[in-house]
Symmetry: C2
Subunit: 113 residues, 2 copies
């Protein structure tokens, strides 16, 4: 294990936040440039309050941060969190490799006798 900087419930929040297309879209837009909550909200066929809630979910998952600028809140994506999520899935793929290695070892031992 290398990536376990995240508790189980943080991982829960992280993947849950990513499990909604509106939220993923917000993350992509926040990666690409700076946006206020209201400018983001203008893009979606739902109320400002609904988008505000989505941003809050992303914020609790540390996928974005908000920074007050005048009367606006600027939403920025958090690169590190996306990296951690990817690394988590990398770990899963690593388990497969370990399993394959383990099986290969056993086969090698068999042929040693």
């Amino acid at each position: 294990m290398v990536v376990d900087q995240l508790s189980e419930s943080e991982v829960d929040r992280l993947f849950h936040a990513l499990a909604d297309s509106t939220r993923r879209s917000i993350v992509v837009r926040a990666i690409s440039g700076e946006h206020s909550v209201s400018s983001l909200a203008a893009s979606y066929a739902m109320s400002f309050a609904a988008v505000q809630k989505h941003v809050a979910v992303l914020e609790q998952a540390s996928l974005v941060t908000k920074e007050k600028r005048g009367r606006e809140q600027i939403v920025r994506a958090n690169r590190e969190t996306v990296r951690k999520a990817r690394q988590l899935l990398d770990e899963y793929e690593k388990i497969w490799r370990q399993r394959a290695d383990r099986i290969a070892d056993i086969l090698a031992e068999d042929s040693e006798d």
Copy 2:
């Protein structure tokens, strides 16, 4: 884009399936070796039916498959789906790099004059 073999709702299901520690645990165990639903269920402090539902969620997300063997159902993890999830997050990280490149290009153009 390279990874878009998945529809938005499939991605929803995929991340939603990963957003639960019991389900992630089941995936890890299914990666490591073969398990029936009931042998998996024995590990968790919840009913068999609850675990059965978790497996169903993983199955709908294509994270695992079930194969009938006698009266048991063997649960196997689907390596390809985990890879797709990781690649999706890779794409996000790629957007950051593209943004950085774009900014670098603009700075280069500025200094060309």
